[in-house]
């Protein structure tokens, strides 16, 4: 009886298509579609290729960032001090960090030349809440750069909360500098620095 039950369980797990949950596409499908869409736009838009900044920023905000979990990203960048921040402080941290990531991501896209992106098929078990989708940016004449996206399942589909470039977690790499700011000026000090940095670059849009 017990063995029959276990056999049934195994059969159910085997039949269920791995990763395709009720909400949205599987994580590797999501990343593949996202990178295809972005590359397609980068290749075809002459304005973007000539350095029109505003367009890239729109592209990032409309297409890419809705698939990111900013609360989680900000939390990981801030580290342990996140607990001590009030909800209002947390919100301001998230907004300022969002601006910073938009600038970083847009800058990265502006460097686009002729790279292609390969997404490795993902092996995951249906119970996984956190997965890592491995991709490779290939450019002729240079070693491919690995870019991994770490995603977690949420109510409205899989959300990216970290990008690991050549082995370096971008989100946790901020932690050293952020905790340095917090040591000096507290959480408000960090918020101020982030917001000041943001104002520095929004004042002169279109400059590159």
């Amino acid at each position: 009886m017990k063995s029959a039950l276990i056999a049934l369980c195994i059969a159910v797990f085997a039949i269920q298509p791995v990763g395709a949950s009720a909400n949205g596409p599987a994580p590797d499908e999501l990343i593949r579609k996202l990178s295809d869409d972005v590359l397609e736009i980068l290749r075809n838009d002459e304005k973007l290729r000539n350095g029109d900044v505003s367009n890239v920023v729109n592209l990032v905000e409309d297409l890419v960032l809705p698939h990111f979990n900013f609360r989680r990203m900000t939390m990981l960048a801030v580290g342990r001090d996140w607990r001590d921040a009030s909800p209002e402080q947390q919100q301001r941290l998230m907004d300022a960090f969002y601006g910073m990531l938009v600038r970083t991501y847009s800058n990265a896209l502006k460097q686009y030349r002729d790279q292609t992106i390969g997404v490795r098929p993902l092996r995951m078990s249906p119970s996984d809440k956190t997965v890592r989708v491995q991709t490779e940016i290939r450019q002729s004449g240079a070693q491919p750069v690995t870019v991994d996206y770490v995603l977690e399942q949420s109510a409205d589909g899989w959300k990216v909360f970290d990008i690991v470039v050549a082995g370096v977690s971008l989100v946790t790499n901020y932690r050293g500098t952020f905790s340095q700011e917090i040591r000096v000026g507290g959480i408000d000090g960090l918020i101020n620095s982030l917001e000041t940095k943001g104002r520095e670059f929004t004042r002169a849009p279109g400059q590159s």
């Binding site: 989680r72 939390m75 996140w82 502006k110 790499n173 500098t177």
Partner: protein, 283 residues
């Protein structure tokens, strides 16, 4: 050989200076990876000035003048020369398969790839590796030591900086006897490597609060990743949850495979014991 000895001596002096600077300044609570921060920051901005004044202008010129196809060839050519030394380091680390693959790459690319200008080996599925003597020492158990910014070379650690002369020695370009050729190739390679990073300063300026600290943390993380050939476990906390529940161990792909394999074996063994016991009951 004489050049090699001279370089070793210069490096030893530089590192001695850095240690002096460190002991001279008052200790302040800072990053445990970076006790030499004061010296490092000074050297970082010195390197930055050198870069702005000399390296970046040369690189920009190179990048403007050279078509992409040529740049690809240049990258492949220097990459190919590096594969011999990379292979030797893989051997020293006991990774014989990788070492043979690196040397195979060199043979294939030097012949079929027209003196390394075309990377045929990668098309054949022989992946390019990234090794150096600092990584070999790490595999042998030598700790990385404090973060250390090397004059002109940039971010490093004390361990890697001390063996930099060994890596320079293993570099075929630097070993060339014909000095004008050697110097030309060295400048070309520098320009080519720097050209890959032309957009980087802007990203660092706009995307970080402290260029120095961000660069340091990035270098150290990436170095550790390379030493472990990519097998660095990662953990992501969730600070919205309670203290105990906040540490969610992160699983790599191989972990998932391993775990599911273990689970499957357990199921099999459970089924077997189950069968055994039922047999026993029948008897």
């Amino acid at each position: 050989m004489r050049a090699f000895e001279l370089q070793s001596r210069v490096f030893a002096v530089l590192i001695a200076c850095a240690v002096l600077v460190m002991s001279g300044c008052a200790t302040r609570p800072s990053n445990p990876d970076d006790p030499l921060e004061r010296y490092n920051r000074a050297m970082f901005s010195f390197n930055d000035k050198v870069d702005r004044a000399i390296v970046k202008p040369i690189t920009t010129a190179y990048d403007t003048v050279t078509p992409d196809v040529v740049q690809t060839g240049v990258g492949n050519f220097f990459g190919n020369l590096g594969d011999v030394w990379i292979g030797l380091n893989n051997m020293l680390q006991g990774k014989v398969g990788d070492g043979l693959s690196d040397w195979m790459r060199f043979l294939v690319n030097s012949t079929f790839g027209l003196f390394g200008l075309i990377d045929v080996a990668s098309e054949m599925g022989l992946q390019k590796n990234d090794e150096d003597f600092g990584q070999t020492l790490a595999v042998w158990g030598v700790g990385e030591g404090p973060y250390f910014v090397v004059p002109f070379f940039g971010p490093s650690t004390v361990r890697d900086a001390l063996v930099l002369p060994v890596d320079v020695r293993g570099d075929p370009v630097w070993g060339l006897d014909h000095v004008p050729t050697r110097n030309t190739l060295t400048v070309l390679r520098l320009a080519h490597k720097r050209a890959r990073l032309l957009g980087l300063e802007k990203t660092l300026d706009e995307g970080t609060l402290d260029r120095y600290a961000f660069t340091r943390d990035f270098h150290l993380q990436q170095r550790r990743y390379k030493v472990h050939d990519g097998n660095v476990p990662m953990e992501y906390e969730d600070f919205d949850l309670d203290e105990e529940a906040s540490l969610v161990p992160y699983e790599t792909e191989s972990d998932v495979v391993a775990r599911s394999a273990v689970e499957r074996l357990e199921l099999v063994s459970m089924i077997e014991t189950d069968a055994d016991s039922s047999m026993f009951v029948i008897r």
